[in-house]
Symmetry: C2
Subunit: 204 residues, 2 copies
């Protein structure tokens, strides 16, 4: 029997939050999540393998893919392009497997537009919870420092509202456990399954 379409998970969050570390750990564990490898025009660094760390490509090829809508999301950083080839994602989802992308916040916004049914996970720096403890528990910091921290926190919270889940990266193993739990729980959501069963019964 045909498997249901897979789910697309997008792991994102502020730069420096540890997305790469979490993703590396998840790739090493046994999960149903297929990792989508990004494409880039930058030169491989020592030890980087084409098709493992990145798909390395030429600028002309990348621009052609942009023009032909072959990228789910893309961005330019310091003269190099980075993006997610759409074909791998679509083919994997069609096969019934789940896909996880690890991308920057701007890329996540593009995926939200191009594939709104994706599940968006915001990786939260542990500093916000530390900040939280500090604000609530002490009240001894100078006012301008507290205000600056709160302003950063507020910006992060505004981003947060575009996401479905917030995972605090307090410990790598805990954050990974939460992401895996989300990927299992999402398959059990009643609204998702109800449609499936209804379609099935109506089709008969």
């Amino acid at each position: 029997m045909k498997k249901d379409r897979g789910l697309l998970f997008v792991l994102s969050g502020p730069s420096g939050v540890g997305k790469g570390t979490i993703m590396k750990e998840i790739r090493q564990q046994e999960t149903n999540l297929k990792y989508s490898i990004s494409m880039t025009t930058r030169q491989p660094r020592e030890g980087e393998i084409d098709g493992v760390h990145y798909h390395f490509t030429e600028k002309e090829k990348f621009q052609e893919m942009i023009e032909n809508n072959k990228l789910l999301e893309w961005a330019e950083f310091v003269g190099n392009y980075y993006g997610t080839p759409i074909d791998y994602v679509t083919e994997t989802l069609d096969k019934g497997d789940d896909v996880i992308l690890e991308i920057e916040v701007q890329g996540a916004l593009q995926v939200k537009k191009n594939y709104p049914e994706a599940i968006f996970i915001f990786l939260m720096p542990p500093s916000l919870s530390e900040l939280r403890n500090r604000i609530v528990g002490r009240g001894t910091e100078p006012e301008d420092i507290i205000n600056n921290r709160l302003s950063i926190a507020r910006e992060e919270i505004e981003m947060m509202s575009l996401y479905d889940y917030v995972v605090e990266n307090d410990k790598v193993e805990l954050a990974c456990e939460r992401i895996k739990a989300i990927s299992i729980a999402e398959h059990c959501r009643r609204d998702r399954l109800e449609d499936k069963y209804k379609q099935l019964l109506e089709a008969e």
Copy 2:
């Protein structure tokens, strides 16, 4: 610092689906889920321990609790009362721990009314998925049998729409894993956390 309020999980589903088996397994594993022990007026069976399997009580005491709104839900089966004492649930949630109830569908409807913020998990008999395979894959059954099965499936699906999650009880260990994943993922839901962070920042 004060912990957030715990979450209330309600595990329910058609009778005979295996709720008791699943619950027994979950109680033996290491989770953050505190199990709420039901109260009953029926006699203890051999091996049943007061305060472990049930809180055994007198009919008068139970009726008094109904009158004083001390039960989150209750029902009468073959002359005996069964119910969930509200105090244990409230105190445990207030302490910041999660609670799981294992109750019949009618009881779940009462909890939905009395504590709508609970998370409702519908345990699905594996027969529906078998049925599904049968309907889709073969088409060789006599029409009246298919219709009867579909009618049962339809009733179950109507119940389903009151729930947040549907967990198929295909294998005990898989069903338990899904329930535990749901309990972790629910704590990561952005709408839940966003309120928390917003309240925190606004309070400052």
